[in-house]
Symmetry: C2
Subunit: 276 residues, 2 copies
């Protein structure tokens, strides 16, 4: 059965990359604060970085801030990824970073919006409302969902690190175990901050096969290596590394993406060889 | 200091109502599945029910499913509430049911989108990312946020009911206590399912002064009375009751809203008299 993660694995093979290029048109990145400028900024980034991108990740917030024209810009950006994929002859999945989470019929409307109105291939979701809020995003195996698990922001500890009675484990591991239990169609992954090494290693042990979307990679190679060591599966995959500003604000975003892709390959090679 | 809840309290006084009319244009409610039909459906509902509405609550998902035109429809619906408020001479707050939740600069973009691009007065949020994901929605005291606390869907128990080690309390009470601690500007409330009577009573004891947005009121007066008993503050307020289909699908939505408003007043009166 084809599923979201079979598509992603195919793309990872095609471009030898675990890089996920973030499409976050911050107001400070734009020459003028308009939806049109946001679309141009993102489409230029797609054009330059596509050969090195395992996936693209537009964040809905930076489009919504422009109202209806922002939503139209988001549609255009996703269409540009589709068009660029066709030219490359390799489908680059689009992960809509929306962090949605609502019940039953409302979740169905969000799934329609993300997957069919916008044309994204996967979406990020909050796990707080539980299984029935996630299921409408999983019905079509070719579409995927990444559940927030352990994030890297300061407030992450407020709930995610609370220890659940009787298990000796933090809440984020309960989320990870639930996601794994719900993954009957190979289309659930987790959002795990790349700077949270101990949580990442614990989540990897609890869910050996799941893909992690792991934001937070800095400019330093050391951080990158530690994150890959904590989060990669033994097959050298399972970790998708979203990078936004370190690419978009580089003098040459294509070159920055290529270099980052290559640095990841080096580390992957060393780590998987040392495990073999 | 004026705050979101001083505006809401004023409106509750003006219309003697705790009713929050849900604006959820389900596809099955529309003659044709279009953004224009969604806007007409909601604006008609606003027109008929405004005199009895303490607040209106559009759910973003039912607009997003139509893409950019859906977002434009949502703007029109919120503008219609503003216009109707002016004719009534009483501001009816709009609570955007969006259940957003993201970090720092992204949360700021969502706040701009909800409060300024769309013109909503408050928004619903997921608490999973913690304090720094909520703060950008609280900086302006005249704008408010309702944090998901204990919802009424089947999956709510998956995380919200997990007992936190060392406290003997479920996760939802940790969320309630955090919200109370962060409420320095009188602009945080909680989402608490009206059918969850024991959780609602526990959350009320933990947070005696907070407003609850409490969906799930059925057609039966018994349910309504039990929910008010569990959730009202001693002053007979503190509970905002969102109702969608029971009003929008009634033969006369205005009459249905008026009757529900009056039934709530009766119960409020009885309960506060018995407490006095």
């Amino acid at each position: 059965m084809e599923s979201f993660f079979t598509f992603l694995e195919k793309r990872v093979s095609d471009c030898s990359s675990l890089l996920c290029v973030g499409l976050d048109p911050h107001l400070s990145d734009l020459s003028v604060p308009s939806a049109e400028a946001a679309a141009s900024f993102c489409i230029d980034l797609v054009e330059r970085t596509a050969p090195y991108a395992a996936a693209f990740k537009p964040n809905a917030a930076f489009f919504e801030q422009f109202g209806a024209p922002g939503w139209a810009a988001l549609e255009k950006v996703i269409a540009a990824v589709r068009e660029r994929s066709q030219r490359l002859g390799s489908l680059i999945p689009v992960i809509l970073d929306a962090k949605r989470g609502d019940i039953a019929s409302t979740a169905e409307a969000y799934a329609r919006s993300s997957f069919y109105a916008l044309g994204a291939h996967a979406v990020t979701l909050s796990p707080y409302l539980g299984r029935d809020s996630v299921e409408p995003f999983l019905n079509d195996p070719e579409k995927g969902a990444f559940l927030l698990c352990r994030t890297s922001n300061p407030g992450a500890a407020d709930l995610q690190d609370l220890e659940i009675a009787g298990t000796g484990e933090p809440l984020y591991l309960a989320v990870a175990r639930q996601a794994q239990a719900w993954n009957s169609r190979n289309n659930i992954g987790l959002v795990v901050g790349a700077t949270q090494l101990e949580p990442m290693a614990r989540i990897r042990r609890a869910t050996p096969g799941l893909w992690f979307l792991a934001p937070g990679i800095g400019a330093q190679g050391g951080d990158l290596e530690a994150a890959l060591q904590a989060g990669l599966r033994p097959d050298g995959r399972g970790l998708l590394l979203p990078v936004s500003r370190a690419i978009s604000r580089a003098p040459d975003p294509g070159k920055a993406a290529a270099e980052l892709r290559d640095r990841i390959i080096d580390i992957q090679y060393r780590l998987t060889r040392s495990k073999a």
